[in-house]
Protein backbone atom coordinates (compact mmCIF):
# COMPACT_ATOMS: atom_id res chain seq x y z
CA UNK A 1 0.00 0.00 0.00
CA UNK A 2 1.17 3.52 -0.78
CA UNK A 3 2.29 5.75 2.08
CA UNK A 4 0.34 8.76 0.83
CA UNK A 5 -2.93 8.31 -1.02
CA UNK A 6 -4.73 11.35 -2.36
CA UNK A 7 -8.13 10.73 -3.89
CA UNK A 8 -10.38 13.20 -5.74
CA UNK A 9 -9.11 16.15 -3.76
CA UNK A 10 -10.94 19.42 -4.43
CA UNK A 11 -10.22 22.91 -3.15
CA UNK A 12 -11.66 26.30 -3.99
CA UNK A 13 -11.58 29.86 -2.68
CA UNK A 14 -14.81 31.66 -3.28
CA UNK A 15 -15.44 31.05 -6.94
CA UNK A 16 -11.85 30.18 -7.73
CA UNK A 17 -11.29 26.46 -8.17
CA UNK A 18 -7.75 25.74 -7.16
CA UNK A 19 -7.67 21.95 -7.21
CA UNK A 20 -9.89 19.72 -9.34
CA UNK A 21 -10.29 16.11 -8.31
CA UNK A 22 -6.64 15.40 -7.74
CA UNK A 23 -5.61 11.78 -7.23
CA UNK A 24 -2.13 10.38 -6.90
CA UNK A 25 -0.03 8.40 -4.47
CA UNK A 26 3.46 8.29 -3.09
CA UNK A 27 5.10 4.95 -2.31
CA UNK A 28 6.93 4.43 0.93
CA UNK A 29 10.62 5.19 0.65
CA UNK A 30 10.29 7.14 -2.58
CA UNK A 31 11.50 10.55 -3.68
CA UNK A 32 8.78 12.14 -5.78
CA UNK A 33 8.34 15.60 -7.24
CA UNK A 34 5.46 17.86 -7.97
CA UNK A 35 5.89 20.35 -10.78
CA UNK A 36 3.73 22.75 -12.70
CA UNK A 37 3.44 26.36 -13.77
CA UNK A 38 3.10 29.15 -11.27
CA UNK A 39 -0.35 29.14 -9.78
CA UNK A 40 -1.05 25.55 -10.72
CA UNK A 41 -1.96 24.70 -7.16
CA UNK A 42 1.14 22.91 -5.92
CA UNK A 43 1.53 24.83 -2.67
CA UNK A 44 -2.21 24.67 -2.16
CA UNK A 45 -2.02 20.91 -2.36
CA UNK A 46 0.69 20.87 0.30
CA UNK A 47 -1.49 23.11 2.41
CA UNK A 48 -4.34 20.62 2.12
CA UNK A 49 -2.11 17.68 2.95
CA UNK A 50 -0.81 19.37 6.08
CA UNK A 51 -4.14 20.69 7.28
CA UNK A 52 -3.60 24.39 6.60
CA UNK A 53 -6.40 24.44 4.05
CA UNK A 54 -9.60 22.48 4.38
CA UNK A 55 -10.32 20.68 1.11
CA UNK A 56 -13.84 20.90 -0.32
CA UNK A 57 -13.90 17.25 -1.08
CA UNK A 58 -11.89 14.08 -1.53
CA UNK A 59 -9.71 12.18 0.87
CA UNK A 60 -6.12 11.98 2.02
CA UNK A 61 -4.65 8.92 3.66
CA UNK A 62 -1.29 8.62 5.30
CA UNK A 63 -0.13 5.06 5.89
CA UNK A 64 -3.72 3.98 5.45
CA UNK A 65 -5.08 6.37 8.05
CA UNK A 66 -7.42 9.17 6.92
CA UNK A 67 -6.04 12.60 7.73
CA UNK A 68 -8.43 14.76 5.72
CA UNK A 69 -9.49 17.86 7.61
CA UNK A 70 -7.38 17.26 10.70
CA UNK A 71 -5.65 20.30 12.21
CA UNK A 72 -1.97 20.77 11.24
CA UNK A 73 -0.52 19.74 14.59
CA UNK A 74 -2.40 16.42 14.53
CA UNK A 75 -1.15 15.68 11.05
CA UNK A 76 2.43 16.41 12.04
CA UNK A 77 2.03 14.09 14.99
CA UNK A 78 0.82 11.38 12.63
CA UNK A 79 4.10 11.61 10.71
CA UNK A 80 3.82 14.25 8.02
CA UNK A 81 6.28 17.14 8.16
CA UNK A 82 6.84 20.05 5.78
CA UNK A 83 8.95 23.05 4.89
CA UNK A 84 7.54 26.29 3.53
CA UNK A 85 7.90 27.97 0.16
CA UNK A 86 9.12 31.18 1.78
CA UNK A 87 11.32 30.14 4.67
CA UNK A 88 9.42 30.21 7.94
CA UNK A 89 12.02 29.77 10.64
CA UNK A 90 11.82 31.21 14.13
CA UNK A 91 14.39 33.78 13.10
CA UNK A 92 14.71 35.36 16.52
CA UNK A 93 15.55 32.08 18.20
CA UNK A 94 18.72 30.05 18.03
CA UNK A 95 19.44 27.43 15.46
CA UNK A 96 19.34 24.72 18.13
CA UNK A 97 16.00 25.90 19.45
CA UNK A 98 14.63 25.73 15.96
CA UNK A 99 15.80 22.16 15.66
CA UNK A 100 14.40 21.34 19.09
CA UNK A 101 11.01 22.72 18.11
CA UNK A 102 10.43 19.80 15.78
CA UNK A 103 10.28 17.43 18.71
CA UNK A 104 7.46 19.18 20.46
CA UNK A 105 4.96 16.62 19.26
CA UNK A 106 7.22 13.76 20.28
CA UNK A 107 7.62 14.86 23.89
CA UNK A 108 5.05 15.27 26.61
CA UNK A 109 6.13 17.08 29.75
CA UNK A 110 4.05 20.11 30.59
CA UNK A 111 4.01 23.13 32.84
CA UNK A 112 3.57 21.34 36.12
CA UNK A 113 6.48 18.96 35.73
CA UNK A 114 8.64 21.88 34.60
CA UNK A 115 7.80 23.78 37.78
CA UNK A 116 8.49 20.73 39.89
CA UNK A 117 11.71 19.99 37.98
CA UNK A 118 10.83 16.29 37.88
CA UNK A 119 13.75 14.06 36.98
CA UNK A 120 11.86 12.58 34.05
CA UNK A 121 11.26 16.08 32.76
CA UNK A 122 14.97 16.91 33.04
CA UNK A 123 15.80 13.79 31.14
CA UNK A 124 13.34 14.59 28.42
CA UNK A 125 14.77 18.10 28.06
CA UNK A 126 18.25 16.65 27.76
CA UNK A 127 16.98 14.25 25.16
CA UNK A 128 15.34 17.02 23.13
CA UNK A 129 18.61 18.92 23.08
CA UNK A 130 20.77 16.04 22.01
CA UNK A 131 18.31 14.97 19.36
CA UNK A 132 18.18 18.54 18.08
CA UNK A 133 21.97 18.59 17.89
CA UNK A 134 21.96 15.31 16.04
CA UNK A 135 19.72 16.67 13.29
CA UNK A 136 21.80 19.80 12.99
CA UNK A 137 24.74 17.54 12.54
CA UNK A 138 22.89 15.55 9.93
CA UNK A 139 22.26 18.59 7.76
CA UNK A 140 25.72 19.90 8.52
CA UNK A 141 25.15 23.09 10.49
CA UNK A 142 25.75 22.06 14.07
CA UNK A 143 28.61 24.54 14.34
CA UNK A 144 25.98 27.30 14.20
CA UNK A 145 23.82 25.78 16.96
CA UNK A 146 23.90 28.83 19.20
CA UNK A 147 23.56 31.50 16.55
CA UNK A 148 20.27 33.13 15.75
CA UNK A 149 18.47 31.41 12.91
CA UNK A 150 17.85 34.72 11.15
CA UNK A 151 21.58 35.27 10.86
CA UNK A 152 22.25 32.15 8.85
CA UNK A 153 22.92 32.32 5.15
CA UNK A 154 20.01 31.49 2.93
CA UNK A 155 21.26 28.05 2.10
CA UNK A 156 21.82 27.20 5.75
CA UNK A 157 18.35 28.44 6.58
CA UNK A 158 16.98 25.96 4.07
CA UNK A 159 18.99 23.22 5.77
CA UNK A 160 17.75 24.26 9.18
CA UNK A 161 14.17 24.07 7.99
CA UNK A 162 14.87 20.57 6.86
CA UNK A 163 16.46 19.65 10.19
CA UNK A 164 13.48 21.05 12.04
CA UNK A 165 11.07 19.02 9.96
CA UNK A 166 13.16 15.88 10.35
CA UNK A 167 13.25 16.33 14.11
CA UNK A 168 9.55 15.52 14.25
CA UNK A 169 10.47 12.00 13.04
CA UNK A 170 8.12 12.03 10.08
CA UNK A 171 7.35 9.24 7.70
CA UNK A 172 6.76 11.65 4.85
CA UNK A 173 8.35 15.02 4.37
CA UNK A 174 7.04 17.71 2.00
CA UNK A 175 9.56 20.22 0.65
CA UNK A 176 8.21 23.35 -1.07
CA UNK A 177 10.78 24.73 -3.52
CA UNK A 178 13.79 23.85 -1.40
CA UNK A 179 16.21 25.02 -4.08
CA UNK A 180 14.73 28.46 -4.67
CA UNK A 181 17.42 31.07 -4.23
CA UNK A 182 20.28 28.57 -4.06
CA UNK A 183 23.21 28.73 -6.42
CA UNK A 184 24.42 25.85 -8.53
CA UNK A 185 26.81 24.47 -5.97
CA UNK A 186 24.27 24.69 -3.18
CA UNK A 187 21.75 22.94 -5.38
CA UNK A 188 24.15 20.05 -5.84
CA UNK A 189 24.61 19.79 -2.10
CA UNK A 190 20.85 19.81 -1.69
CA UNK A 191 20.37 16.90 -4.08
CA UNK A 192 22.91 14.98 -2.07
CA UNK A 193 21.19 15.85 1.19
CA UNK A 194 17.75 14.83 -0.04
CA UNK A 195 19.11 11.46 -1.09
CA UNK A 196 20.69 11.01 2.34
CA UNK A 197 17.41 11.82 4.03
CA UNK A 198 15.75 8.99 2.23
CA UNK A 199 18.64 6.55 2.35
CA UNK A 200 19.79 7.07 5.93
CA UNK A 201 16.52 7.77 7.70
CA UNK A 202 14.02 6.07 5.46
CA UNK A 203 11.83 9.15 5.26
CA UNK A 204 9.76 9.44 2.11
CA UNK A 205 10.15 12.74 0.24
CA UNK A 206 7.72 14.72 -1.90
CA UNK A 207 9.04 18.00 -3.24
CA UNK A 208 7.90 20.96 -5.31
CA UNK A 209 10.54 22.52 -7.50
CA UNK A 210 10.91 24.69 -10.57
CA UNK A 211 14.52 23.75 -11.22
CA UNK A 212 14.14 21.01 -13.77
CA UNK A 213 17.73 19.92 -13.53
CA UNK A 214 17.29 19.13 -9.88
CA UNK A 215 13.89 17.54 -10.32
CA UNK A 216 15.01 15.23 -13.07
CA UNK A 217 18.10 14.28 -11.14
CA UNK A 218 16.51 13.43 -7.85
CA UNK A 219 13.00 12.12 -8.42
CA UNK A 220 11.81 8.65 -9.16
CA UNK A 221 8.35 9.81 -10.09
CA UNK A 222 6.98 13.20 -11.06
CA UNK A 223 3.44 14.52 -10.82
CA UNK A 224 2.59 17.48 -13.03
CA UNK A 225 -0.14 20.02 -12.32
CA UNK A 226 -1.65 22.63 -14.53
CA UNK A 227 -4.56 24.86 -13.56
CA UNK A 228 -5.34 22.70 -10.58
CA UNK A 229 -5.46 19.52 -12.60
CA UNK A 230 -3.08 16.63 -12.76
CA UNK A 231 -1.91 16.46 -16.35
CA UNK A 232 0.81 13.86 -16.04
CA UNK A 233 2.26 11.40 -13.59
CA UNK A 234 5.27 9.18 -14.27
CA UNK A 235 9.00 8.74 -14.45
CA UNK A 236 11.19 11.72 -15.30
CA UNK A 237 11.76 10.38 -18.78
CA UNK A 238 8.09 9.90 -19.44
CA UNK A 239 7.17 13.30 -18.10
CA UNK A 240 9.88 15.08 -20.00
CA UNK A 241 8.59 13.60 -23.22
CA UNK A 242 4.91 14.25 -22.53
CA UNK A 243 3.69 16.86 -25.01
CA UNK A 244 1.13 18.25 -22.60
CA UNK A 245 3.85 18.87 -20.03
CA UNK A 246 6.07 20.48 -22.61
CA UNK A 247 3.29 22.73 -23.71
CA UNK A 248 2.09 23.71 -20.28
CA UNK A 249 5.33 23.88 -18.41
CA UNK A 250 8.69 23.03 -19.83
CA UNK A 251 8.44 24.88 -23.09
CA UNK A 252 10.51 23.94 -26.08
CA UNK A 253 14.26 23.86 -25.56
CA UNK A 254 16.17 26.47 -27.47
Amino acid sequence: MALLEVRDLRLSFGGLKVLHDISFSVEKGAINSLIGPNGAGKTSLFNCLTGFYKPKGGSIRLGGRPITGLPPHRITALGLARTFQNIRLFKEMTVLENAMSGQHCRSRHGIVSAILHLPSQRREEENIRTTGMRWLDFVGIQQHAHRLAGGLSYGDQRRLELARALASTPELILLDEPAAGLNEREKLDLVHLIRRVRDETGVTVLLIEHDMGLVMQVSEKIVVFDYGQKIADGTPEAVRADPRVIEAYLGTED
Binding site: T43, N47, Q85
Partner: protein, 303 residues
Protein backbone atom coordinates in the same frame (compact mmCIF):
# COMPACT_ATOMS: atom_id res chain seq x y z
CA UNK B 1 -41.41 46.36 24.90
CA UNK B 2 -44.04 48.29 23.05
CA UNK B 3 -43.47 49.41 19.50
CA UNK B 4 -43.01 53.01 20.54
CA UNK B 5 -40.38 51.99 22.98
CA UNK B 6 -38.59 50.01 20.33
CA UNK B 7 -38.65 52.94 17.94
CA UNK B 8 -37.46 55.29 20.65
CA UNK B 9 -34.57 53.02 21.60
CA UNK B 10 -33.73 52.65 17.94
CA UNK B 11 -33.50 56.41 17.61
CA UNK B 12 -31.46 56.64 20.82
CA UNK B 13 -29.11 53.95 19.63
CA UNK B 14 -28.61 55.55 16.25
CA UNK B 15 -27.74 58.91 17.74
CA UNK B 16 -25.13 57.64 20.19
CA UNK B 17 -24.04 55.18 17.58
CA UNK B 18 -23.30 57.93 15.10
CA UNK B 19 -20.98 59.54 17.63
CA UNK B 20 -19.27 56.23 18.25
CA UNK B 21 -18.96 55.70 14.53
CA UNK B 22 -17.41 59.06 13.95
CA UNK B 23 -14.76 58.55 16.61
CA UNK B 24 -14.25 54.92 15.64
CA UNK B 25 -13.57 55.99 12.10
CA UNK B 26 -10.49 57.97 13.06
CA UNK B 27 -9.39 55.15 15.31
CA UNK B 28 -9.72 52.70 12.49
CA UNK B 29 -7.95 54.90 9.94
CA UNK B 30 -4.96 55.37 12.17
CA UNK B 31 -4.91 51.70 12.97
CA UNK B 32 -5.17 50.86 9.31
CA UNK B 33 -2.14 52.86 8.39
CA UNK B 34 0.30 52.19 11.21
CA UNK B 35 -1.30 49.26 13.06
CA UNK B 36 -1.48 51.30 16.22
CA UNK B 37 -4.30 51.15 18.73
CA UNK B 38 -4.27 54.85 19.34
CA UNK B 39 -5.29 55.13 22.96
CA UNK B 40 -4.92 58.90 22.72
CA UNK B 41 -7.82 59.12 20.30
CA UNK B 42 -10.39 59.60 23.04
CA UNK B 43 -8.37 62.45 24.47
CA UNK B 44 -8.19 64.04 21.05
CA UNK B 45 -11.96 63.98 21.08
CA UNK B 46 -11.93 65.66 24.49
CA UNK B 47 -9.49 68.29 23.25
CA UNK B 48 -11.74 68.88 20.27
CA UNK B 49 -14.65 69.56 22.57
CA UNK B 50 -12.63 72.04 24.64
CA UNK B 51 -11.29 73.91 21.65
CA UNK B 52 -14.81 73.99 20.27
CA UNK B 53 -16.13 75.40 23.52
CA UNK B 54 -13.53 78.13 23.63
CA UNK B 55 -14.23 79.14 20.04
CA UNK B 56 -17.95 78.94 20.63
CA UNK B 57 -17.82 81.23 23.65
CA UNK B 58 -15.63 83.63 21.75
CA UNK B 59 -17.59 83.89 18.53
CA UNK B 60 -20.80 83.74 20.54
CA UNK B 61 -20.20 87.38 21.38
CA UNK B 62 -20.95 88.26 17.77
CA UNK B 63 -23.02 85.45 16.34
CA UNK B 64 -24.93 84.24 19.39
CA UNK B 65 -25.34 80.71 20.61
CA UNK B 66 -27.02 79.24 17.58
CA UNK B 67 -26.03 77.12 14.66
CA UNK B 68 -23.57 79.60 13.25
CA UNK B 69 -21.55 79.48 16.45
CA UNK B 70 -21.55 75.71 16.50
CA UNK B 71 -20.42 75.51 12.91
CA UNK B 72 -17.59 77.98 13.54
CA UNK B 73 -16.54 76.00 16.59
CA UNK B 74 -16.68 72.81 14.59
CA UNK B 75 -14.52 74.06 11.76
CA UNK B 76 -11.90 75.76 13.89
CA UNK B 77 -11.68 72.84 16.27
CA UNK B 78 -11.35 70.28 13.50
CA UNK B 79 -8.53 72.25 11.97
CA UNK B 80 -6.69 72.97 15.21
CA UNK B 81 -7.06 69.52 16.70
CA UNK B 82 -6.28 67.90 13.37
CA UNK B 83 -2.96 69.69 13.58
CA UNK B 84 -2.54 68.56 17.16
CA UNK B 85 -2.92 65.00 15.91
CA UNK B 86 -0.16 65.62 13.41
CA UNK B 87 2.09 67.01 16.12
CA UNK B 88 1.48 64.00 18.34
CA UNK B 89 2.29 61.66 15.51
CA UNK B 90 5.43 63.57 14.73
CA UNK B 91 6.84 63.61 18.24
CA UNK B 92 5.42 60.55 19.94
CA UNK B 93 4.76 57.95 17.28
CA UNK B 94 7.15 58.60 14.44
CA UNK B 95 10.27 57.94 16.50
CA UNK B 96 8.70 54.62 17.48
CA UNK B 97 7.90 53.43 13.99
CA UNK B 98 10.33 50.55 14.13
CA UNK B 99 9.76 49.69 17.76
CA UNK B 100 7.85 46.60 18.89
CA UNK B 101 4.11 46.99 18.54
CA UNK B 102 3.41 46.80 22.24
CA UNK B 103 5.89 49.57 22.94
CA UNK B 104 4.01 51.80 20.53
CA UNK B 105 0.80 50.85 22.24
CA UNK B 106 2.28 51.95 25.54
CA UNK B 107 3.51 55.16 23.95
CA UNK B 108 -0.03 55.82 22.82
CA UNK B 109 -1.16 55.23 26.37
CA UNK B 110 1.46 57.74 27.48
CA UNK B 111 0.29 60.27 24.92
CA UNK B 112 -3.25 59.79 26.16
CA UNK B 113 -2.17 60.41 29.74
CA UNK B 114 -0.25 63.52 28.73
CA UNK B 115 -3.27 65.02 26.99
CA UNK B 116 -5.51 64.06 29.85
CA UNK B 117 -3.11 65.29 32.52
CA UNK B 118 -2.68 68.60 30.73
CA UNK B 119 -6.42 69.08 30.54
CA UNK B 120 -6.74 68.28 34.24
CA UNK B 121 -4.02 70.72 35.15
CA UNK B 122 -5.55 73.45 33.02
CA UNK B 123 -9.17 73.01 34.06
CA UNK B 124 -8.76 71.73 37.59
CA UNK B 125 -11.23 69.00 36.77
CA UNK B 126 -14.13 71.42 36.34
CA UNK B 127 -17.11 70.52 34.19
CA UNK B 128 -17.90 73.28 31.73
CA UNK B 129 -21.29 74.07 30.32
CA UNK B 130 -21.57 74.20 26.54
CA UNK B 131 -24.86 76.02 26.29
CA UNK B 132 -26.37 76.39 22.87
CA UNK B 133 -29.85 77.40 21.90
CA UNK B 134 -30.51 74.98 19.14
CA UNK B 135 -34.03 74.32 20.35
CA UNK B 136 -36.14 71.21 20.65
CA UNK B 137 -38.25 71.65 17.57
CA UNK B 138 -38.61 68.55 15.50
CA UNK B 139 -40.96 65.96 14.12
CA UNK B 140 -43.07 63.40 15.91
CA UNK B 141 -43.38 59.81 14.83
CA UNK B 142 -46.16 58.39 16.95
CA UNK B 143 -44.98 59.25 20.49
CA UNK B 144 -41.36 59.54 19.49
CA UNK B 145 -40.02 63.04 19.17
CA UNK B 146 -36.98 63.59 17.01
CA UNK B 147 -35.47 67.05 17.09
CA UNK B 148 -34.00 68.79 14.08
CA UNK B 149 -30.77 69.00 15.99
CA UNK B 150 -30.66 65.24 16.24
CA UNK B 151 -31.33 64.89 12.56
CA UNK B 152 -28.67 67.38 11.63
CA UNK B 153 -26.25 65.63 13.92
CA UNK B 154 -26.80 62.21 12.42
CA UNK B 155 -26.75 63.66 8.92
CA UNK B 156 -23.54 65.54 9.66
CA UNK B 157 -21.72 62.52 10.96
CA UNK B 158 -22.96 60.32 8.16
CA UNK B 159 -21.82 62.81 5.54
CA UNK B 160 -18.44 63.20 7.21
CA UNK B 161 -18.08 59.45 7.11
CA UNK B 162 -19.32 59.15 3.56
CA UNK B 163 -16.86 61.83 2.53
CA UNK B 164 -14.09 59.93 4.21
CA UNK B 165 -15.07 56.70 2.53
CA UNK B 166 -15.10 58.42 -0.85
CA UNK B 167 -11.73 59.96 -0.14
CA UNK B 168 -10.15 56.67 0.82
CA UNK B 169 -11.59 54.63 -2.02
CA UNK B 170 -11.60 57.17 -4.83
CA UNK B 171 -8.69 59.55 -4.56
CA UNK B 172 -5.07 58.82 -5.21
CA UNK B 173 -4.23 59.90 -1.69
CA UNK B 174 -6.77 57.47 -0.31
CA UNK B 175 -5.18 54.69 -2.30
CA UNK B 176 -1.81 55.79 -1.02
CA UNK B 177 -3.11 55.43 2.52
CA UNK B 178 -4.12 51.88 1.89
CA UNK B 179 -0.83 51.17 0.16
CA UNK B 180 1.13 52.55 3.10
CA UNK B 181 -0.86 50.37 5.44
CA UNK B 182 0.06 47.29 3.44
CA UNK B 183 3.73 47.95 2.78
CA UNK B 184 5.54 51.16 3.66
CA UNK B 185 8.72 50.32 1.82
CA UNK B 186 6.98 49.43 -1.42
CA UNK B 187 4.87 52.58 -1.09
CA UNK B 188 7.97 54.71 -1.09
CA UNK B 189 9.02 53.05 -4.31
CA UNK B 190 5.75 54.24 -5.84
CA UNK B 191 6.77 57.80 -5.06
CA UNK B 192 4.51 58.02 -2.04
CA UNK B 193 5.78 60.25 0.76
CA UNK B 194 4.99 57.89 3.60
CA UNK B 195 5.51 60.46 6.34
CA UNK B 196 3.12 62.83 4.63
CA UNK B 197 0.47 60.18 4.19
CA UNK B 198 0.69 59.14 7.83
CA UNK B 199 0.53 62.77 8.93
CA UNK B 200 -2.51 63.28 6.73
CA UNK B 201 -4.17 60.24 8.23
CA UNK B 202 -3.61 61.57 11.71
CA UNK B 203 -4.91 64.93 10.63
CA UNK B 204 -8.11 63.50 9.25
CA UNK B 205 -8.65 61.04 12.08
CA UNK B 206 -8.06 63.71 14.70
CA UNK B 207 -10.23 66.23 12.88
CA UNK B 208 -13.07 63.71 12.82
CA UNK B 209 -12.64 63.08 16.52
CA UNK B 210 -12.60 66.81 17.18
CA UNK B 211 -15.72 67.21 15.09
CA UNK B 212 -17.35 64.50 17.16
CA UNK B 213 -16.17 66.22 20.34
CA UNK B 214 -17.67 69.58 19.37
CA UNK B 215 -20.92 68.00 18.29
CA UNK B 216 -21.16 65.94 21.45
CA UNK B 217 -20.24 68.93 23.60
CA UNK B 218 -22.87 71.10 21.95
CA UNK B 219 -25.49 68.38 21.90
CA UNK B 220 -25.11 67.21 25.47
CA UNK B 221 -24.10 70.61 26.78
CA UNK B 222 -21.09 69.74 28.88
CA UNK B 223 -17.37 69.34 28.47
CA UNK B 224 -14.77 68.03 30.88
CA UNK B 225 -11.31 66.55 30.94
CA UNK B 226 -12.42 62.99 31.46
CA UNK B 227 -15.01 62.79 28.71
CA UNK B 228 -12.58 61.18 26.28
CA UNK B 229 -11.77 58.11 28.31
CA UNK B 230 -15.05 56.28 27.90
CA UNK B 231 -15.48 57.56 24.37
CA UNK B 232 -12.04 56.23 23.47
CA UNK B 233 -13.01 52.83 24.79
CA UNK B 234 -16.26 52.82 22.85
CA UNK B 235 -14.55 53.92 19.68
CA UNK B 236 -11.97 51.19 20.09
CA UNK B 237 -14.72 48.65 20.61
CA UNK B 238 -16.70 49.90 17.64
CA UNK B 239 -13.68 49.98 15.38
CA UNK B 240 -12.69 46.43 16.21
CA UNK B 241 -16.20 45.09 15.92
CA UNK B 242 -16.56 46.74 12.55
CA UNK B 243 -13.40 45.06 11.36
CA UNK B 244 -10.46 47.18 12.30
CA UNK B 245 -8.96 49.17 9.47
CA UNK B 246 -12.21 49.28 7.52
CA UNK B 247 -13.93 52.64 7.08
CA UNK B 248 -17.48 51.40 6.52
CA UNK B 249 -16.81 48.79 9.18
CA UNK B 250 -16.11 51.48 11.76
CA UNK B 251 -19.37 53.12 10.85
CA UNK B 252 -21.38 49.93 11.19
CA UNK B 253 -19.52 48.99 14.35
CA UNK B 254 -20.37 52.36 15.91
CA UNK B 255 -24.03 52.11 15.04
CA UNK B 256 -24.20 48.51 16.22
CA UNK B 257 -22.60 49.41 19.53
CA UNK B 258 -25.03 52.30 20.00
CA UNK B 259 -27.98 50.04 19.32
CA UNK B 260 -26.70 47.27 21.57
CA UNK B 261 -26.35 49.76 24.38
CA UNK B 262 -29.79 51.24 23.86
CA UNK B 263 -31.48 47.88 23.82
CA UNK B 264 -29.16 46.51 26.47
CA UNK B 265 -30.60 49.14 28.81
CA UNK B 266 -34.10 47.76 28.39
CA UNK B 267 -33.43 44.08 28.73
CA UNK B 268 -36.31 42.03 30.03
CA UNK B 269 -36.06 40.79 33.65
CA UNK B 270 -32.86 42.65 34.54
CA UNK B 271 -31.98 46.29 34.99
CA UNK B 272 -29.70 48.58 33.05
CA UNK B 273 -26.85 47.71 35.40
CA UNK B 274 -26.40 44.59 33.26
CA UNK B 275 -26.21 46.55 30.05
CA UNK B 276 -22.47 46.25 29.51
CA UNK B 277 -22.45 42.56 30.30
CA UNK B 278 -25.00 42.19 27.54
CA UNK B 279 -23.08 44.46 25.18
CA UNK B 280 -19.68 42.85 25.67
CA UNK B 281 -21.17 39.38 25.88
CA UNK B 282 -22.83 39.86 22.51
CA UNK B 283 -19.67 41.26 21.01
CA UNK B 284 -17.54 38.39 22.25
CA UNK B 285 -20.02 35.85 20.92
CA UNK B 286 -20.13 37.72 17.66
CA UNK B 287 -16.35 37.60 17.33
CA UNK B 288 -16.33 33.89 18.07
CA UNK B 289 -18.46 33.33 15.01
CA UNK B 290 -17.07 36.12 12.84
CA UNK B 291 -13.46 36.43 13.95
CA UNK B 292 -12.63 39.41 11.77
CA UNK B 293 -15.42 41.77 12.73
CA UNK B 294 -18.28 42.88 10.52
CA UNK B 295 -16.33 44.00 7.49
CA UNK B 296 -12.82 42.90 8.33
CA UNK B 297 -11.25 40.81 5.65
CA UNK B 298 -10.91 37.18 6.48
CA UNK B 299 -7.38 36.67 5.43
CA UNK B 300 -6.39 33.07 4.93
CA UNK B 301 -2.72 33.34 5.61
CA UNK B 302 -0.87 31.86 2.66
CA UNK B 303 1.84 29.54 3.83
Amino acid sequence: MTLDLVIQQLVNGLIVGSFYALIALGYSMVFGVIKLLNFAHGDIYMNGAFVGLVVFSFVGIWVGNGWLGVVCALLVSMLAVGLLGVVIERFAYRPMRNAPRLSILITALGASMVLNGTALALTGGKHYAFNTDLGFAGVDISTVHITYTQMVLVAASISLMAGMQAFVSRTMYGKAMRAVSIDMGASRLMGIDVDRVIALTFFMGSALAAGGGVMAGAYYGSVHFFMGFIMGLKAFTAAVIGGIGSVPGAMLGGLLLGLLEAFGSSLPFVGSEWRDVFVFGTLILFLVFKPTGILGRSVVERV
